[in-house]
């Protein structure tokens, strides 16, 4: 194998699995260390800088970082990264001194943001410090988009939401709420310097089955219903409720129904339990509230008595694994089942849908009715119009909206400054900073903490089910937060190897608790992976290969299960190994981390 190029920012970035998996590339170990030092405000700001909504995400994020956490591979459960983010948000102090300053004198460029959800808000935050004038339009009476309308208050309290939304609006956004956009052409006529479409995926899917039209009064589309609950138009639901669908919206619908007075709530899913789209913990929370989830039941027909819904007919199927990790479904041969119900909440998916964009406005759409975008710039075929969040690539989650927003803000800024939005984008970078402070002193806590993942305390269940506004998860208190923070392996403190210093004494090989390091003859990657002290079977994790050493051998380190405990550097007599913190520069306008 060729020697690893550690100057490539992606090499060490990939080693920080959580940061690599995060769409916004939040520097996770860095903020966890700040929490461990009880520097909550700084931890919060580091988050705010890259993902914009730490308090909201600390409660609602889909957590792509957690399955990626190295701890899953070395032990079992990942660090509770998401809940630690919340710890930073819950315990932070006054952040006003850290906020970027917004110039009074504007730079003369006007930007139109459509939608007031996470994507638009994040674009506004990135652009405002550069003197842009920002107009934001949304049909809802308040900002926040789906964070306000679709996430129930027992998961995301209103004050948390409002604090983070207002933080951005107060930077000087000209908000036009209650403004229903009906025509893109009309907006383009307003002659802004750039447009950003962040209107989300606001159309919930429906199901056209026999009887659907007749029972229309008894069927609600999940996200619309949640929204009417959020804005106080709906405050109760009665009788037997069936929620159809297996995603997070379905979980929110069933738990909200339970709180609004439903006599019985059941979730029915057409597919198997383990392939449901809902996050593991959302399913757990719903079930622990006594809501049954019934799987492998595709619906066939709505039954009614003169327009009054009486029940739904479901087919019984069973999942057959296809060997590729997916299922196909076969009828079990059992007779169809009828489930009685008075109300149905349909949560079977959403679409990004922009009926208000005229198809001759210069913005091209593909055959799935999604805008055609440049992946790097998020620019549509209309040079002034950019898309981000769910409206760009279909329903994802809030953290993706932040990531898109950073990209789009760079594009808008470059365009407004007359630069090339593709060629002139700022590059990614990496800085490596030695953590050695003395002979046996490291500036990070190298000791491995073998604790199991700590459990987040929940509110009293009876009380929580009585009131939709009572937050179910209480979050870690400071003490539990500190304990959980200790579980982080500090994967951003990298093992950096300098060939010319190595005397091949094997000290690092002997001490490494995880058998990551091998000195061996060089070979092709496959051969090398099999020849290491411990086999390197996880192909997704890179091998760190050195240049040729004095004996002609090479040093090969399998990054897979390295604990970043620093023992290799500690036992190295010549300082050929060093522990160096990698600071990854993810391109972002005016980033706090790189300022």
């Amino acid at each position: 194998m060729k020697a690893t190029n550690i100057a490539d920012p992606n090499y060490f970035h990939k080693v920080v699995d959580c940061q690599w998996a995060c769409p916004a590339h939040t520097p996770v170990p860095d903020y966890i260390r700040l929490i461990a030092e009880e520097r909550y405000t700084e931890a919060y700001m580091l988050n705010w800088d890259s993902n914009v909504f730490p308090g909201i995400l600390g409660r609602t994020c889909d957590r792509p970082c957690e399955p990626a956490c190295r701890r899953v591979r070395t032990e079992e459960k990942p660090v509770a990264i998401c809940r630690l983010k919340r710890v930073a948000a819950d315990h932070k102090g006054d952040i006003s001194a850290y906020m970027p300053r917004v110039p009074k004198k504007k730079n003369g460029k006007r930007i139109c943001l459509m939608g007031a959800g996470p994507a638009s808000l994040a674009v506004a935050r990135d652009l405002l410090p550069f003197g842009y004038e920002i107009d934001m339009f949304d049909r809802d009476p308040a900002g926040g988009g789906m964070m306000r309308s679709q996430i129930p208050a027992f998961r995301l309290p209103a004050d948390v939401l409002e604090e983070e939304v207002d933080l951005i609006l107060d930077m000087g956004v000209n908000a036009h709420f209650g403004y229903e956009i009906t025509s893109m052409k009309q907006m383009l006529d307003m002659d802004y310097d750039a447009y950003f479409v962040g209107t989300g995926a606001p159309r919930g899917r429906d199901l056209d089955l026999p009887g659907r039209q007749e029972v229309d009064d008894h069927i609600s589309i999940g996200i619309d219903w949640l929204s009417s609950v959020a804005f106080g138009h709906t405050s109760s639901i009665s009788g037997k409720v069936i929620v159809m669908g297996g995603g997070n919206t379905a979980m929110d619908c069933c738990r909200t129904s339970k709180r609004l007075g439903a006599e019985r709530v059941t979730v029915v899913v057409r597919s198997a339990f383990d392939v449901m789209k809902a996050s593991e913990w959302e399913k757990e929370d719903a079930m622990s509230e006594g809501i049954p989830i019934i799987n492998n039941r595709p619906p066939k027909e709505f039954l009614h008595d003169n327009g009054k819904l009486t029940g739904i007919v479901f087919e019984c199927v069973k999942p057959i694994p296809d060997g590729k990790g997916r299922y196909r479904y076969e009828p079990t041969g059992e007779p169809d089942v009828v489930m009685e119900c008075d109300h149905v909440l349909m949560a079977i998916g959403q679409e990004n849908h922009c009926p208000w964009v005229e198809r001759d406005a210069g913005i091209e759409f593909d055959k799935w009715d999604c805008p055609i975008l440049d992946e790097d710039t998020l620019q549509s075929s209309h040079p002034k119009v950019f898309f981000g969040g769910d409206s760009a690539l279909g329903p994802e989650n809030i953290i993706w909206a932040s990531a898109h927003a950073h990209k789009a803000a760079i594009s808008i800024h470059l365009m407004c400054q007359g630069k090339d939005i593709k060629q002139d984008r700022p590059p990614e970078g990496v800085n490596l900073i030695s953590q050695k402070m003395g002979i046996h002193q490291w500036s990070y806590d190298a000791e491995h903490d073998a604790s199991k993942r700590f459990i987040v305390p929940h509110a009293n269940k009876r009380k929580a089910l009585d009131n939709i506004k009572i937050e179910v998860e209480l979050g870690f208190d400071a003490r539990l937060g500190l304990k959980e923070a200790q579980r982080c392996l500090n994967c951003d403190v990298q093992t950096v190897f300098t060939e010319k210093l190595c005397i091949e004494c094997d000290a690092c090989v002997d001490i490494c608790p995880m058998d990551c390091i091998t000195f061996t003859d060089n070979a092709e990657e496959g051969e090398l992976r099999a020849a290491l002290t411990a086999p390197a079977e996880n192909d997704e994790q890179d091998l760190y290969v050195s240049e040729s050493l004095t004996t002609g051998r090479v040093m090969v380190k399998d990054e897979d299960v390295c604990l970043h405990c620093g023992l290799c550097a500690e036992r190295c007599p010549t300082h050929a190994w060093d522990m160096q913190k990698s600071v990854i520069h993810v391109p972002q306008l005016g980033s706090y981390a790189t300022r």
């Binding site: 005397i503 004494c505 002997d510 990551c516 411990a534 079977e537 405990c565």
Partner: protein, 351 residues
């Protein structure tokens, strides 16, 4: 001295031996020797060898004297018996331990100071008594613990860290062992575990006195350009004479095609030592030839490594003394106190 505690977590795919243990279960405390010390690699090699042989750690007696080398039994096999003896007196303790309990695997770790200076008398006599043990000398040619004076194994003409040459002839423990009766003699290098681990395995199962002289560089005081016991010097001047692969009893003996002529030696426990001779007419069972070869190589400034001599059928001290077949602590009253008739028999012999 390392303060970071070595985590107990292990690689999920680390091999588990027949006892259900991984290599990590054979480790000891984290070393307090200087970072990069060759002795730590020797400890790691012992750990690996014992784990691969699936020997029960509680069936070991590890003994040592004084010096950097003699600290190392703390750093391997933490679940075994150990005795840290007076300087140079490890052989007496080892002799006693082995005579009392012949079922224990006895590993002695000593250094060039402990065995070639203060303890040379004890060394000579444990060799000639052929105590059934593995005796390892971590040989770095220097008194590291007292900051780098020449030891008795330091080659004449090699220099100290500050450039002062050594004036005296070295004691070669390998030649001594060959001359006075060791039935297994090897030399290796701490930086070459592929050679060292099988040698340790063979030495452990060998019946009789097995001696391995391991050149183990002292990174702090004797790893410089004027040294003949530095990592670089040994790598440049070592001649691998006979390599030995340990093949456990019942394990399939596979054919390989590397150069050198092969000879399989049956060991008393049913295992096999596969010797690969890189010099066609070298016979590792010929003691005199081994002695000559080692001496000639030393004259040429070469370091001969590998299994230099083995006599798998040699008698050990227990054979010579006709001791009971079981450990002394397992003998019951009737064996220890055979009665008046037996006493009369003994007395009759003496009249």
């Amino acid at each position: 001295m390392t303060y970071v505690v070595k985590p107990r977590v292990r690689h999920p795919l680390l091999p588990i031996n027949e006892l259900g243990l991984t290599r990590r279960d054979y480790e000891g405390a984290v070393s307090t020797l200087c970072a990069g010390c060759g002795h730590d690699s020797v400890s790691a090699a012992i750990v690996q060898a014992c784990a691969e042989l699936a020997l029960p750690p509680h069936k070991f007696a590890k003994v040592s004297g004084i010096g950097c080398s003699s600290k190392t039994p703390s750093y391997f096999l933490s679940h075994s018996h150990g005795f840290n003896a007076v300087h140079g007196r490890m052989p007496s303790v080892a002799t006693g331990a082995n005579l009392a309990n012949r079922e224990l695997y006895c590993i002695g770790v000593s250094g060039d100071g402990d065995s070639a200076s203060i303890g040379i008398g004890q060394f000579a006599h444990i060799v000639r008594r052929r105590i059934n043990m593995l005796y390892i000398v971590d040989n770095n040619g220097t008194y590291g613990l007292t900051k780098g004076q020449f030891s008795a194994t330091n080659d004449k003409g090699s220099t100290s860290k500050k450039g002062v040459p050594n004036l005296y002839e070295p004691i070669d423990l390998v030649s001594m062992a060959l001359q006075i009766g060791a039935s297994f003699v090897a030399r290796s290098f701490s930086g070459d575990k592929r050679q060292l681990v099988p040698l340790i395995q063979a030495g452990l199962v060998h019946k009789g006195f097995a001696f391995i002289d391991v050149i183990s560089p002292c990174v702090a005081f004797n790893n410089h350009n004027g040294s003949t016991k530095s990592y670089d010097y040994v790598r440049d001047h070592s001649e691998r004479l006979v390599s030995a692969d340990y093949i456990a009893a019942g394990e399939e003996i596979t054919v390989d095609y590397e150069s050198g002529s092969l000879e399989d030696v049956a060991m008393p426990d049913g295992s096999t030592l596969r010797l690969r001779k890189l010099e066609e007419d070298y016979d590792p069972r010929d003691r005199v030839q081994a002695l000559t070869h080692v001496q000639r190589a030393a004259e040429a400034g070469e370091v001969v490594t590998g299994l230099l001599y083995v006599d798998p059928d040699a008698a050990d001290c227990h054979d010579a003394l006709g001791t009971p077949a079981a450990p002394l602590n397992s003998l019951d009253e009737s064996a220890l106190c055979p009665g008046a008739a037996a006493l009369e028999g003994v007395n009759a012999q003496l009249q």
